[in-house]
Symmetry: D2
Subunit: 346 residues, 4 copies
């Protein structure tokens, strides 16, 4: 009953097979191998962006901070949701990589930036007496860190403001696929066609083994990225293994199937938790994360039974806040076992 | 005929099997899984250092710069060989991670730091009028970037000087195993018993898939390493896959067998090149790298035949400097094919 | 009619005389001169802190960021008021000098940190699931950037929270004297006796010529400050001139007289503005800054007459927000001239 | 008998008078005052560079590192003489401000970069296999840190190489005037007409009180300088006092007179030391610095008599290396007193 993180799940079997197949003889290192080159072509095709630049990495944080560092000056401020991963969970890596750019967190429901609050914050920074303060990149997370999925209109509302202030827009897509299958739109539609300039295209949370990518839709935005990657100690020598995974991931819609499975498991979990005594669903499920509050006895039963999830302070003392995350490998049996314990008596 | 880099080689079959076995169900992420914990125990046992701290990463450069950042203050200078990887091939990552520590390159044959030159450089820095300059970590590479293998006495001579100036000693062991099998000593003997405080214990060049580790023999030296790793965007979530590789690597001496195979292939290559017309061996083979100079017609023939290696300016205009690196998967057939072309007529 | 900044005022005549006197022959450079040493003794005596360490600089921002860098780790967060100078007016210098520490702005009236909001923010950071986030230094500004003066009890309430979370407390005292004369307490009482560990002891805004100081009450907190200062390019060679100014500043209570003059000018201005049509006093004067809103016609008259002050968006469209700052050299005539224009008809 | 540093000298009387005159009433802060603007015009005229950008600072190190940071990318290497101030005496400030650019020291006599050695070092970096290494700014010091004065031809030889590799050229002119009076050429002739793109135009060592300037001859090179200055905590609020000093400095050739006085004092000293027993002149005087070796008994006598200079290890055990620096205020009496002690018997 692993609901702590989608990072806890195994690698999908098709992906492991791809790794085995790629492990054939020698290949050029440092990204000059043919698989890495094939992947860039494939992603350009998938995102309908024939000039896009693609760079492979091994952690989602690296994709975020290297993209931000490439797009943002050290004396600028990056705007994001106040609960964004880059603001709350990256141990000041964004500040480190950008050379000290400030992160300004903005409010909004379910982790989605409120456009009015964003414009207000950016205008406030621009209005300041000192001529040296500067607005920088706007970064939004899709799926958000509170499990929310932006509609296309909402993405455009945010990126329109970035454009209004003359700054680029970045999307942290650690759970990109989980959002895409909910919106049922194209990858281009959810990114550059909605105003996104650079995308952290996550893989690790959706069945890959430490595989992540950054995509710059306009090659001009990728200026000096390779230097920053190497200087950040993030240039993998055996990149063919990252590329091989992504090629299998994108083959035959596997990536969308994996995401659908994760989302369905979360939907099943939500359906089972609805209306149960001692369980509050903080907001409706939108992708593969549920934010709940559980009465302490329930929490204790679950822990005793070996259920794993992140717990923190709830809004009421006799409850515990529990974040439940499903991944492609979460089975109906996993979900049902969890529900059984919730329903059972102490 | 791949002789460009030991990074170009495939992952060893035993390692791939370990990855498949590790891909079983869920596991805690971010290094709290049982495989990562088992690996730390195994390495403590292997290095006879019961209190050692072990941290997993995915690039060799990351192991170097995070170790240096943990050991070195921003206003200090790191001492290394002038051809060291950290000085020449890391795109200023050491300066970035340490917050601006200077790297001072010292001379020595075959990439091995000359103790007299080191003491001279460190004394010179200490003597300077300004009280703010400071000596920092001494870093040596084993196997060196020019293919050399330090004897244990030589390692001690260097670390003795570090101790004399009150600074720690780091070993960049990207090719650790390739040196160990030549010296036929214990891992402890080649590291902390010879005065090394922190080791970049490489795996990727010797058959692993993007797996690297940092070992601090004295836990006090690891102070704040985890913060620096996370802030550097180098915390892998699915660490069980790195750990699983290393556990198989260290099982039954596989890591030493892989290194012996690479070194033997280089020895076979050297034996075949000795005395050939148009070929100069710059210095004798010590591990798995050969530095040669090839007459231009030979170089042309090799390129035409698809041989891959790094070429640069030689000491004479009609020659090309060629670095030939073997890895665990280099076969006798690979070597013999290369030699045949060298020997053949235009 | 200069009310833009206390930085716009001239240097006090006693200070200029001290510079002339200090300009006598040669003196050791880089702070080893006898005036700098005399000043450290004098400040230890004034602050009743016999072990305090004192460092001289030339900008207030430098005192803040070097103190913060010395007290804070790169992976920590600094807590301050959301309108604090370090957060809003230092062009990310704090992030630069600390190596990427995050600044977390907290609410409170008139620029004074609300203790409850501070505890809440610090607890929230400490509670987060990720073990790598860390609370760092708490920094408060006295006089605040919105003209407020903390009572001693309020300072203690804030520093108590810092202590509760095991972090140091810093005071940005760019307008230290302007607050001290309002509280009528001792320098020790307003700093270390109220829990402050490090003080940016401002001089430039109160009659000095680019003279600033950092005081660490506990010498242990000053660890490595000199290296950071030099590395920040902030080590002045001719420090005797900074020291000479401060010695005259502290002689015979000159510094308190200068501050009283500035505060009285602001009081006179406030008294004159009270109740005037088209003028709103946003909050009562506490030191030497007034925050007002002026009807646009009044603003236009003042500008036409050559009055200088920072203007920005007010809460109502037909008004302008005007910040009026007095300094030691602001005369009754300056104030009365301003008032006359405000009162006059277009 | 102060010969330790030209920073130890007093401020010239004409400069002190200028400070007193500038201390009149209020002025706009942060460089928007009319004196700062007048100075930029004056320097454009003096350097025959009508589009030059001028920025005022208070330390020489700040002028160097802010100029280098503006001209150099973090993944580049700066080339300088191995004894350059930026390499040896700035506590890694260049690495800090550039975000980790490496400094590569090159040889040459008397602190002057040898063009052949420079081309060799830059070509070597460009030739390296890794495509990510990059040559960056070339920085030369005039007067060098070993007291040498580049001829115009030598400056051009160095800047020609910078141009060949497509990088800018910076001049650290902490002692600019001391060189100019020796070459008897125009300021333009010694800088942009000889290929220099940015100049650290020193003042503190030649009679000013903590006044320094950076001049970019091509305004495009000054891109983002103001942000970097503010972010470095180097924006002085009361800039009129820096500007006022420079205006007086440049008035009526005062700056050249001050430099000539310093150089003449050094010439007098050299003449007196020539041929004395127990004294070796390491190389002939070129500006205002002498590098000598003194027999230990002479050194002891001088110290006992209160002479002040930097002493370090000499080439022979029974001697001490002594650096003797004169400044505008060094009198014939100072020099003669020193010589008398050297000549006297123990």
């Amino acid at each position: 009953m692993h609901f702590a993180s989608d990072n806890a799940g195994p690698v999908a079997p098709e992906i492991m097979d791809a790794l085995i197949r790629a492990n054939d003889g020698h290949a050029m290192a440092y990204g000059t191998d043919h698989l890495t080159q094939a992947l860039e072509s494939r992603l350009r095709e998938l995102f309908e962006a024939p000039e896009a630049r693609v760079f492979l990495l091994t952690t989602g944080t690296a994709t975020n901070v290297l993209a931000l560092a490439t797009l943002t000056d050290p004396w600028q401020s990056v705007f994001c949701h106040r609960d964004a991963h880059i603001e709350v969970s990256e141990c000041n890596a964004p500040e480190f990589y950008t050379g000290g750019a400030k992160l300004i967190g903005v409010d909004g429901p379910t982790g989605k930036i409120d456009p009015g609050a964003l414009r207000s914050a950016m205008a406030s920074l621009s209005d300041q007496a000192s001529p040296d303060t500067r607005c920088g990149t706007v970064s939004l997370t899709q799926v958000t860190d509170l499990g929310g999925v932006y509609t296309l209109d909402h993405i455009r509302a945010v990126t329109d403001i970035a454009r209004e202030f003359g700054v680029p827009a970045h999307m942290d897509g650690a759970r990109f696929a989980n959002a895409l299958v909910e919106l049922d739109c194209s990858p281009a539609g959810m990114t550059w066609q909605a105003g996104i300039d650079a995308l952290s295209f996550g893989g690790t949370k959706n069945g890959l083994m430490s595989a992540e990518a950054v995509i710059f839709f306009n090659p001009a935005h990728a200026y000096e990225f390779e230097h920053r990657r190497r200087r950040g100690a993030h240039l993998s020598s055996k990149q063919r293994y990252i590329a091989a995974q992504y090629l299998a991931y994108l083959d035959d819609g596997l990536w969308l199937d994996l995401a659908r499975r994760a989302n369905r498991a979360a939907a099943r979990l939500e359906a089972g938790l609805k209306g149960l005594a001692g369980v509050t669903l903080v907001h409706p499920r939108e992708a593969n994360m549920l934010f709940t509050e559980l009465a302490r006895p329930i929490h204790a039963r679950l822990r005793d039974a070996g259920a794993v999830y992140y717990a923190s302070k709830a809004s009421r003392d006799d409850y515990v806040a529990a974040r439940l995350v499903t991944n492609w490998a979460t089975t109906d049996a996993d979900v049902d076992a969890f529900l059984a314990i919730v329903r059972s008596e102490g």
